[in-house]
Amino acid sequence: MNSQAVLAVIIFGAVYLAITTDLVNKTAAAILGGMLMIIFGIVSQTKAFSYVDWGVIFLLIGMMVITGITKRTGLFQYLAIKVAKLARGEPMAIMILLSLVTAITSAFLDNVTTVLIIVPITFLIAVELGVNPTPFVIALAIASNIGGTATLIGDPPNIMIGSASGFSFMDFLLNLSPVVIVILIAFSGFITLVFRKKLKVSNERKARIMDFDESKAITDKVLLWKSLLVLGLVIVAFLLHGALGLEPATVALSGAALLLIISGYKEVETIFAEIEWTTVLFFLGLFMIVGALVDIGVMGLLSKSLLSATSGHLRVTTFAILWGSGILSAFVDNIPFVATMIPLIKDMSQSLGASAVEPLWWALSLGACLGGNGTLIGASANVISAGISAKNGHPISFMQFFKYGSIFMIISLIISSVYLLIRW
């Protein structure tokens, strides 16, 4: 490696350290890192900007706008109350059904938004039932991470992998949703086993839940139908985007613009305020940093050494990626990790062929998404859920989450390993 490459690795390492230790704001660190790559002449500005994956950026923005409007309708509260009543106020059944609602919602909307909507209503249901809300919060955070694994748009790692690998929405659904369904079934069994004894509720308490009128949870019926129409169109377009020749970002942005227009919001600023600009800018910075590493040849070097370390056995490489990214994602942000792994796998696909490295992509997705369940800090959904819980007098400690999260992360990675073994 020449001195420029060494400098690039140092900048990358410093940014990674800043993100992991949370010493400075991670978005600011990523942007500064990208700029340093340009300032030190490692890449030109034009080159650095060209490494930004606009497919990812615009898909994120588009979905954030659609979600921002849909959540105003009260749809998700309606669903939560509906399933609570469907379970006839039985807390264990409520927990399982709410986990499923969370998982399905997370598969299509981003996880943080999902838990921001579903955790408060779940809290309300648990308090009305007179049971400790903490197990519910933990279960929902984990369910959200599992659900996000299932689709191309479910989780940022998948959005990045989808854009970089060229797999379609359908490819993700066909390759990931079977294993995610198995994991969700296992998860239902797991929470029943560990939480069942803590959830005893009187008939009077159950009656309180049955007394809820879910139809009143819908705040804007007209907006709800408009949102469902656009959401439906967008999902159909995602399913067909391979056949239509449209990229997911185009679908999402079109849907966002359409919903903005038909929803009749003249003051779009309030909707645009729902876009998480910190996340968007974090991606921008990361793409430039990793792009610089690719440009200067560091990534090529790394992929060759990874392949030689596993002596070219793809199966070994697959498991190394699954478990490595799983365990790492439990402790560090999975977004920069996946951003780093993507050029590695791309490099390998050039030397080994695209079809040969296909399992590596799925291993990366499963590892990075499911690994987030390992600890309280493994995924944003965990941090946000715990934050709401703490604000309502039920703080969740690192160990409290770890007790359940780490065990289920290992279970889910074992299921994934078996799946990858059978399928490839």
Binding site: G74, L124, D213
Partner: protein, 301 residues
């Protein structure tokens, strides 16, 4: 407001010899008329000053003259101090004039006029300060000396002037039941919370009391129309003997001090949309000022 801030060094006349009071009055009026060319008419000002002089009684026993006049079509207050090189001699038995202050104001008198007169009169009574004032060598020094002496002509209302001092407060370890009882029986909408040493540690408005039964998670929902009752609200009523004031109080954010201006209190009420502010001195609660105090003691006093 300080008297010195009404003075302009360019309108402090010093170092000239005057053979009589009229001569000094002429130069003082000239100076004022020159400086306020568009608003002070020299002839009118001089005539009014002379009319007032004819009535007598504008020279204080310490040799300070305060000639003054109210002018038509003038809406201001201008003060011209004159320090003659040597005292202006007058008739036998009358003290020579060592210092002269000409005051020109509007027909009805500026709100600052009478208080300025009072401040100048009190300078005249302070022989020590008067001596040093007569000793200065430049107009600028004259003004800064008056400023340093701190003569005030208008004192704004302070929080201590309008606040309620016999404040009902509640201890942090009191129960919700105590709180509700006090608020109900004494018809209070606001209570400061103190610890055992009387230090202010929090506050409670009647709205805080009511919203104590509505938890954070409920506020995060887009709508609560789907239910009619909430467990935490019922619990609040059922457990009013156990819930402590400390657990539902709000931390007291920037309390006022007795010397804060009433304007400051009004500003904070506006900014924070809060009607009551605790007043503390060294951390101890000494009073409460409310928007009603401002209404009844300032706006309609």
């Amino acid at each position: 407001m300080k008297l010195a801030h009404l003075l302009d060094p360019r309108l402090v006349l010093m170092g000239k010899e005057y053979s009589n009071l009229d001569e000094a009055l002429h130069s003082a009026v000239d100076a004022a008329a020159d400086a306020y060319r568009s608003t002070i008419r020299r002839d009118e000002a001089l005539a009014r000053v002379m009319e007032r002089e004819a009535l007598g009684g504008t020279v204080l026993p310490t040799g300070v003259a305060i000639p003054h006049a109210r002018l038509d079509a003038f809406d201001d207050l201008v003060i011209v101090p004159v320090v003659p090189r040597s005292p202006i001699q007058r008739g036998p038995g009358e003290p020579p004039i060592r210092l002269l202050w000409l005051l020109l104001t509007s027909k009805v008198g500026s709100p600052l006029y009478l208080t300025s007169l009072a401040a100048i009169a009190s300078i005249a009574k302070d022989e020590g300060f008067l001596a040093s004032l007569l000793n200065v060598d430049t107009p600028a020094r004259f003004v800064s000396l008056v400023e340093e002496a701190g003569y005030e002509i208008k004192k704004g209302l302070r929080v201590e002037d309008i606040m309620a001092r016999d404040v009902v407060s509640i201890r942090d370890n009191a129960t919700l039941k105590d709180l509700i009882d006090i608020m109900y029986t004494r018809k209070l909408r606001y209570l400061p919370v103190v610890d055992d040493t009387g230090r202010l540690i929090g506050e409670l408005g009647i709205l805080d009391l009511i919203s104590a039964g509505i938890p954070d998670y409920a506020l995060r929902l887009t709508s609560l129309d789907f239910l009619d009752e909430l467990a935490p609200m019922e619990e609040l009523l059922a457990r009013e003997n156990e819930i402590s004031v400390r657990s539902i109080m709000k931390p007291a954010v920037d309390p006022l001090s007795p010397s804060s201006s009433v304007f400051d209190a009004a500003l904070r009420m506006t900014k924070r949309r809060k009607r009551h502010f605790p007043v503390t001195e060294g951390g101890r609660l000494v009073g409460v000022v409310s928007s009603m105090d401002i209404l009844s003691k300032v706006l309609r006093s």
